[in-house]
Amino acid sequence: MALRIGCAAAPGRAQDNKTGSWRVFMPVVDMEKCILCGTCVLICPETAVSDKDGQILFDLDFCKGCGVCARECRAEAITMIQEEK
């Protein structure tokens, strides 16, 4: 008799859960001010910031709008704005 204990989930299945719906404030970057230091990419607890081809991109499907990126950006390039929904 096979006795099964425990259960397994497929890697990365959390992406089913679009945490962007929690957001009240949305980060917006001013690329004129951004010095591409990469701080925001490194410190986002949601893995929702990336830099590609000299642009800072926010993944709004998952960004919770916590504002950590805006507060820690030393160039003050990110502002949190109230989102129209």
Binding site: G12, R13, A48, K64, C66, A70
Partner: protein, 300 residues
């Protein structure tokens, strides 16, 4: 060197906005790289990252009980060794799981010297079950089991000095503390620990738990974490084979700055300042500064 641009902790997890432990999970996996098996105890990180059938982990991850992560990791490591496999084994457990209920299994794993890295994410209370005090809760913090009130100024015991007193006493080859305030330092220490043979221990300060510490918004995660270090209540250091080999130096700020921002210490300031209690907390910071030699002298 591992490729630190790899994202092995995925979005979609259910941690509060600005959660320190969520950021730490990302940073740990950047330090370990893909070739890792994670063992987790019950706690916030386990709950927010793996509501079945979802998981934010893109590496093998196993959850057992609140108290036995170190024992499970020991078994995983022994089996990998027997089968000549190369995966690193990393425990990631809360402060309640580490300082209190898991101590028996941690002691066993470190005594046997398994090649594991045990990482405690320290949010300074049992947060997942509603903010009960743990052995890692700082002096005078108000929690649901150490509430401040007319007859109490909060938690009556100091934070247990676990890494040097207990892990070093077990002969751990590498013992370190870190903080999410300094992400590069976290990744570097994790990478060093997983590549050091034998049982290693890292304790990472993961402020703020905006729910459990309260009084500020989630955007201040890094800011509050930095203040803890700048006032001397948290010290980032490394110990190799029992000897202190590095400690982050600071120009210290008074503990008030750090305490005042948090609801769990509000009773020390309102309705009026409880100066003798604040002085006791300042004395803890002063003792830390002396013990680890963290003060930058004026002419340095």
């Amino acid at each position: 060197m591992v490729d630190k641009s790899l994202e092995l902790f995925d979005c979609g997890h259910r941690a509060c906005g600005g959660c320190g432990p969520a950021l730490l999970a990302r940073l740990i996996l950047k330090g370990t790289g893909e070739n890792v098996i994670v063992v987790a105890s019950t706690g916030c990180m386990e709950v927010f990252s793996t509501p079945y059938p979802e998981t934010a982990w893109k590496v093998p991850w196993i959850h057992s009980l609140f108290e036995n992560a170190a024992a499970v990791a020991s078994g995983v490591e022994a089996s990998l060794k027997h089968n000549n496999r190369t995966e690193k084994v990393v425990c990631i457990c809360g402060d309640g799981a580490t300082f209190d209920i898991g101590m028996l299994c941690i002691s066993g794993a470190f005594e046997r010297g398994h090649d594991i890295t045990y990482i405690c994410y320290d949010n300074e209370a049992y947060m997942n079950t509603g903010i009960q005090r743990s052995g890692a809760t700082p002096y005078d913090a108000s929690t649901t089991t150490s509430p401040a009130g007319r007859l109490s100024t909060g938690n009556s015991l100091p934070k247990k000095d676990l890494p040097p007193q207990i892990l070093n006493a077990h002969g751990a080859s590498y013992v370190a503390t870190a903080s999410v305030a300094y992400p590069m330092d976290v990744m570097k220490k994790v990478e060093k620990a997983v590549n050091t043979p034998g049982a290693c221990y890292i304790q990472v300060h993961t402020p703020p738990c905006s729910t459990g510490w309260g009084g500020f918004d989630g955007s201040k995660t890094i800011e509050i974490a930095k203040q803890a270090i700048e006032c001397g209540l948290w010290v980032n250091y490394e110990m190799e084979n029992g000897e202190l080999t590095a400690a982050k130096k600071v120009r210290r700020i008074p503990v008030e700055t750090y305490l005042k921002a948090q609801k769990r210490f509000r009773h020390l300031f309102k309705p009026q300042a409880v100066t003798e209690e604040i002085a006791k907390i300042q004395a803890i910071a002063d003792a830390n500064a002396k013990k680890y030699g963290i003060d930058i002298e004026r002419n340095e």
